[in-house]
């Protein structure tokens, strides 16, 4: 149950120095192009010629490969197997297993879908490794995102680990009082209440206090706030964003062309 929430690794690289907005557009651009473009090899090409070189550029390739593999092998592998066995596509049977047959077409389809998933996960991992969430939020707030959104995202990231550790405490406490969380089905269903109840009510009671605290610090004030951190936004960033937008539109045009 314990997961690390912030993947961010502090390094000095060209990728780290990019503006956070540029990085999020880069990620979304890679994602959209791989989803929209009708070419069979687009996703594969993006993975090899964009995402992997970017991880070297960002000097985080070691962390990138270890976390990407940890996330991708289960997700993409499972989907590959499911698709290969269960997609009722094509005629050319490669091999039979019980009543299921793997055809050349279903294998090709499985390969495409699982590469798409790989691109999705690895692009996102790359973004998280090189961007600090609060840096992203302060940049977006400066560009006009309401401060409330930034509050919601940043404070979720802070509350979640606290909530998870509270959940662990509650589970151990209830087990030590004899709560059965592992035996028969009905016992496990019944133990939802004593586990979820204290967790939820405990955290909802804090809501009011927190609301008063942030209200006292000018949360709803509409005045423009000055930021302590300056986040660079170079000419290169701006050009790159337009190029990415153009690429997404280009793949959309390609898709419509093919219809």
């Amino acid at each position: 149950m314990r997961e690390r929430l912030s993947y961010y690794i502090k390094r000095d690289s060209a990728l780290h120095r990019l503006n956070p907005l540029t990085k999020i557009i880069l990620t979304l651009g890679i994602l959209l192009v791989s989803l929209i473009s009708p070419g069979y090899w687009t996703a594969h090409a993006l993975l090899i010629f964009a995402i992997v070189p970017l991880s070297f550029l960002g000097r985080i390739w070691r962390e990138f490969f270890s976390s990407a593999i940890r996330l991708i092998i289960p997700a993409a592998g499972f989907i590959f197997l499911m698709q290969a066995f269960f997609q009722p596509l094509g005629e050319t049977v490669i091999f039979k297993f019980w009543v299921l047959d793997v055809t050349q077409e279903s294998l090709a389809f499985a390969f495409r879908i699982s590469t798409r998933i790989t691109v999705m996960i690895s692009a996102f991992t790359l973004f998280l490794l090189t961007t600090h969430p609060s840096e992203l939020m302060s940049d977006l707030t400066r560009r006009g995102l309401p401060g409330q959104f930034a509050y919601v995202i940043i404070s979720s990231l802070q509350i979640l680990p606290q909530m998870q550790s509270k959940a662990r405490t509650i589970i151990s406490a209830q087990r030590s009082r004899g709560l059965d969380t592992e035996s028969t089905f009905l016992c496990r269903v019944g133990s939802i209440v004593p586990l979820v109840g204290p967790l939820v009510f405990g955290s909802l009671v804090e809501v009011e206090e927190r609301a008063i605290a942030i209200e006292a610090r000018g949360f709803t004030s509409t005045h423009v706030k000055t930021s302590l951190h300056e986040i660079a936004d170079t000419k290169f960033d701006k050009t790159l964003r337009w190029v990415l937008l153009a690429l997404v539109i280009l793949s959309l045009v390609w898709k419509i062309w093919q219809l």
């Binding site: 009543v99 998870q164 939802i192 939820v200 009011e208 949360f219």
Partner: protein
């Protein structure tokens, strides 16, 4: 409409949303730990929908999946589903369908239908119908019997979602009934949770019993179908 939307987003709402997101994720993980055949990962979303209105619920759902996506990227593409779960829960609550437990069953059912319909195009376009979730075995079976992808995915959704979403709605309802009246009154829409008859504690207990019964029923029906 915009003004009405704004009225739902008080400071209490903005503070509740992150807590609700954390509840979604933490409860989802507890359920995985208990090895139950449901997800229950949108209790917080429905809760916000009830006491803060449909748009706050929708926002909670969408952000919840985005934040969950930070350590489980597979949940990222499903954010529209969570968005509509929060929206429909809020609309049901405004219609007064979170005021007694029999009506909550109806709300849960509506939420389930919405979830099934919204998730179908995502599943078909992104994964060709077969996703990483366990219920895909049903879809795969239906595909093998010669059904089209769209109808196979949609029927799987209709089979799987009701148990999960009715339980979710019941538990969210029970939580709202368990909150003190004083705390409830601080949120934008406390009237959505006023019980019609009986005391809120009797509604709470009934809702919990119904939730357990629904999960058990779903489990036994599934076992019967498999056996």
């Amino acid at each position: 409409m915009f003004e009405k939307m704004k009225k739902d987003f008080t400071t209490m709402t903005w503070v509740l949303i992150p807590v609700a997101i954390a509840i979604n994720i933490a409860v989802g993980q507890i359920v995985v730990l208990l090895k139950l055949p449901v997800y229950l990962d949108s209790i917080g979303t429905v809760l916000v929908g009830i006491i803060c209105g449909p748009w706050a619920g929708a926002l909670t759902g969408a952000l919840s999946n985005t934040i969950w996506g930070l350590f489980n990227p597979d949940s990222l593409p499903w954010w529209p589903v969570a968005f509509f779960i929060g929206l429909v829960a809020g609309l049901c609550a405004n219609a007064g369908w979170f005021k007694s437990w029999p009506k909550v069953i109806l709300s849960g059912f509506l939420i389930a239908l919405t979830a099934a319909i919204v998730s179908t195009p995502i599943s078909v376009y992104l994964y060709g119908g077969i996703t990483a979730s366990g219920s895909s075995f049903i879809t795969a079976y239906l595909l093998q019997t010669g059904q089209g992808v769209l109808s196979a995915v949609l029927s799987t959704g209709f089979l799987v979602e009701p148990v999960d979403k009715i339980t979710t709605a019941m538990l969210a309802f029970a939580i709202v009934q368990g909150l003190s009246k004083r705390l409830l009154a601080r949120f934008p829409r406390p009237e959505n949770a006023e019980v019609e008859q009986g005391s809120s504690s009797s509604q709470l207990v009934t809702a919990l019993i119904v939730a357990v019964v629904v999960i058990a029923l779903g489990f036994f029906v599934r076992n019967m179908l498999a056996g």
